[in-house]
């Protein structure tokens, strides 16, 4: 049950006007100017609101309305600039005025005074994660512009050439916008509910189409061994050494497989098996490293041996054009994998502290990592020619209808 008081709604389709896409950043300049002034006002109102909420336990109504409008307006212009929606937004953040909108509490709720008093400290993990979603992330995996702006850059080209926003990128942007809106609402005392990074709790517009590479997860009660969490960074060292050693024949195999697939349309069966193991092993190791799973993984990438696993379909005929230009075609997916990997890495960093103190991994962080693992699994499968199906960036779970063709 999705109960967060801040919800993102989407009515936006995928059609985009090439002209407004081309000039999108320039068109948004009046909004940027207005947004800057509004932000200055919000700074003072937020301070006043903090004192008022601390004493009364509830935000004054005018503060609440002012701040909710600001949070909504931020979402509107972010959606516009990131190409998540097409129409030019209004300047006041009216509810229902934009296809990508927020449902926010109509009236101020009672808030816990302790949570209010320490809001900036409590919010720090969410702010860090929000930076990875929206921009300015400098994580161990990447030095990126965040999920939203990296996607916007990629989508700009796609929209310009096709007139359509890629569905996966759109859905991923909605996920990033939702988290960012919840973080803003939390920081500005619109709600005292903590942002939820779980990509699977909110309904996404569609369901993921069938993909030959799928992530499976066993039931996880989120319990983690504190000792293995504490030493996690060191425990993966032998695995990293093994991964480096394995990646040498794996990439050589992929090069041989590339020629074979180019001429025959198929990856040789032995190469498919070898590379499937490699990609699966990489997923197991990453899941352990990110604390998305608890047990120490094996070194062989055998199917069904780890709670977070990859199902990879048997080899199939591949489009030779896609095979020939694979190294170029994979670049956008690499950018997306890098940003969602950054979110997962920050989730691991934050989750490390949580798991060390509570013995449990926060479910929402783990779920965001599961999504990242699914994408990176599909990305590596694409890169290493296990499939010619492009990685699907949407957090949408595969629906019952989207079964194997």
């Amino acid at each position: 049950m999705y109960e967060h008081p801040v919800q993102l709604t989407n009515e936006a389709g995928l059609e985009r006007s090439r002209l407004t896409v081309f000039f999108r950043l320039l068109l948004a300049i009046p909004h940027f100017v207005w947004f800057s002034f509004w932000t200055i006002g919000v700074f003072f109102v937020a301070i006043f609101n903090w004192f008022a909420t601390l004493f009364r336990g509830r935000s004054p109504v005018f503060c609440h309305n002012f701040l909710t409008a600001y949070v909504r307006y931020t979402t509107h212009i972010s959606a516009y600039v990131s190409l998540t929606a097409n129409p030019f937004p209004d300047f006041v953040g009216r509810p229902g005025s934009y296809p990508v909108d927020l449902q926010l509490p109509d009236a101020p709720d009672m808030q816990n005074r302790w949570k209010t008093g320490f809001r900036l400290i409590l919010g720090l993990p969410a702010f860090i994660l929000d930076a990875a979603f929206v921009g300015g992330s400098r994580s161990g995996y990447s030095n990126s512009g965040g999920v939203l702006w990296t996607n916007a850059f990629l989508a700009w080209w796609a929209c310009l050439f096709t007139g359509r926003m890629p569905e996966g990128l759109r859905d991923l942007n909605l996920y990033a916008l939702r988290y960012s809106a919840q973080t803003h609402a939390y920081a500005l005392l619109v709600t005292d509910r903590y942002p939820n990074a779980d990509p699977f709790v909110a309904p996404t517009p569609g369901s993921a189409p069938y993909h030959p590479v799928r992530l499976t997860t066993a039931d996880d009660d989120m319990t983690r061994s504190r000792l293995t969490v504490f030493f996690r960074l060191l425990l993966v060292i032998p695995h990293f050494v093994w991964l480096i050693l394995w990646s040498i024949p794996a990439y050589l195999c992929a090069i041989v497989g590339w020629f074979a697939a180019l001429f025959t349309g198929h990856l040789p069966d032995w190469a498919h098996r070898f590379l499937s193991r490699f990609v699966r092993y990489y997923t197991h190791l990453n899941a352990f490293f990110l604390i998305a799973a608890n047990p120490f993984p094996g070194f062989t990438g055998a199917p069904g041996t780890y709670p977070i696993d990859l199902e990879i379909d048997a080899r199939a005929l591949q489009n030779r054009w896609k095979t020939g230009f694979r190294i170029i075609l994979m670049i956008p997916a690499l950018a997306v994998a890098s940003t969602v990997g950054g979110v997962a890495f920050l989730g691991a960093f934050l989750g490390w502290f949580a798991a060390l103190f509570t013995g449990r991994m926060p479910r929402n962080l783990r779920q965001s990592q599961v999504f990242s693992l699914r994408y990176s699994g599909q990305f590596y499968a694409y890169l290493l020619l296990l499939t010619d199906r492009y990685p699907f960036a949407s957090p949408a779970p595969p629906s019952a209808a989207s079964s194997a063709p």
Partner: protein, 401 residues
């Protein structure tokens, strides 16, 4: 087991025993004259009462800290040997992979148990101006250094459990040569693993080194300097590498010493290379490892042997206990090789006064007790005590030349 194999087992055992004894006799050879009489010298003749008091006061704390740390180590390992099995639940890595996890976690627990004592020692070193390193930096260095140890234990356990999978409880027969082989490889590449190293630029010292190489009949050996002054004032040097990777490493804290004394240090390190002490050290490693591995195999038999990962925590405990029990012997062997390097240095430099001055300076800068108690020397002394080294210089001066 077939009848032939049963007959072959005692023969194989005898052959191993004979090879072991023969190895010891070969390794015991030293160029220090067997009849060398070391004069009995008093520390008070070489050090002021204040120097002796300061060194002994410093070492007293170090000894207490070491003993407590040892107790903590053993308690942690005993606890881990009793309860460590439950960590098999944390693994999806199969037999060998789970063994690796248990080995690494064992070392992790040991690190945690010894951390307070390490911090206490650092506090003591900082108080006496021997270390400049900050606490956080030391803990982080120590933590990340543990990564290398984890990697090493993974190699060892993978080899041992791999052979246990093939040979059951006889894993130690091929296991020991394999582990020594890994040791040879590590010794070969070790010069490239030492951080912050650059060539020696001091022309006079380089000329000294070239001259000493000729005297000691050695081919040219690179002399390098390691930058350590940012975290310690203690002086040190070492000879590392095998064959083409051989080199002498001087800590930069040593370069402030008078030239004659640095010359003795270089001659000492070249002495190690001349007498192939790194190869001998590997030989001794094999000598000690053989019975230790055999006893580990024996001790873990009731837990299913090292074929099963559940035996790893017990194997760690047994290994550490046997290492501790054999440390007086191992230190005696090491001291013997150090004495040989000292003797060679005296012969090469023909400067016992510089050697004596060096040993005195080593003691005062490191706050080492010149004549520590026997138990301490036996447990931790991998070099002869400072007074023994001064006595050897004196013996060379009087009659050894």
């Amino acid at each position: 087991m077939t009848a032939a194999a049963r007959r072959a087992t005692p023969l194989l055992g005898l052959a191993l025993l004979a090879a072991w004894i023969w190895g010891i006799t070969q390794l015991l050879h030293t160029s220090v004259p067997s009849g060398l009489h070391l004069p009995h010298l008093r520390a008070s003749d070489y050090f002021t009462p204040a120097q002796l008091h300061r060194a002994r006061n410093y070492e007293r704390f170090v000894r207490i800290d070491y003993v407590l740390s040892l107790v903590a180590l053993l308690l942690a390992l005993i606890g881990y040997a009793l309860r460590g099995n439950r960590f098999t639940r944390e693994s999806a890595a199969g037999r060998v992979g789970t063994g690796l996890l248990l080995g690494m976690l064992g070392l992790g627990i040991v690190w945690l148990a010894q951390l307070p004592f390490g911090v206490a020692e650092l506090w003591w070193e900082r108080r006496h101006g021997i270390s400049h390193q900050g606490y956080v930096s030391w803990i982080l260095d120590s933590f990340f250094g543990l990564g290398g140890t984890f990697l090493a234990i993974c190699f060892v356990i993978a080899i041992v459990m791999g052979f246990a999978g093939l040979l059951g409880n006889r894993w130690w027969i091929p296991g020991v040569p394999a582990l020594v082989g890994v040791g040879v490889l590590l010794a070969f590449i070790s010069p490239f693993l030492i951080p912050s190293v650059h060539p020696l630029h001091n022309a006079r010292l380089l000329a000294d080194a070239r001259g000493l190489e000729q005297v000691e009949k050695l081919p040219s050996v690179p002399v390098k300097v390691q930058e350590v002054h940012t975290f310690t004032t203690a002086p040190n040097a070492e000879s590392v590498g095998l064959g083409p990777t051989r080199r002498v490493i001087l800590w930069d804290t040593l370069l402030g010493f008078p030239r004659r004394e640095v010359r003795v240090v270089i001659a000492h390190e070249l002495g190690h290379l001349k007498h192939e002490h790194i190869w001998k050290g590997l030989g001794w490693q094999a000598v000690f490892l053989l019975p230790i591995a055999f006893l580990i195999a024996l001790a873990t038999r009731r837990r299913g042997g090292l074929y099963v990962p559940e035996a790893v925590p017990l194997a760690l405990l047994v290994f550490v206990v046997l290492q501790l029990a054999s440390s007086p012997l191992q230190n005696a062997v090491s001291s013997r090789m150090e004495a040989e390097a000292d003797w060679t240095a005296l012969g090469a430099t023909r400067d016992p006064a510089a050697a004596t001055a060096l040993f005195k300076r080593l003691s005062t800068t490191s706050l080492a007790d010149p004549s520590p108690p026997g138990w301490w020397q036996g447990l931790t002394g991998d070099h002869p005590s400072i007074m023994r080294r001064i006595e050897m210089s004196r013996a060379w001066e009087v009659g050894g030349r």
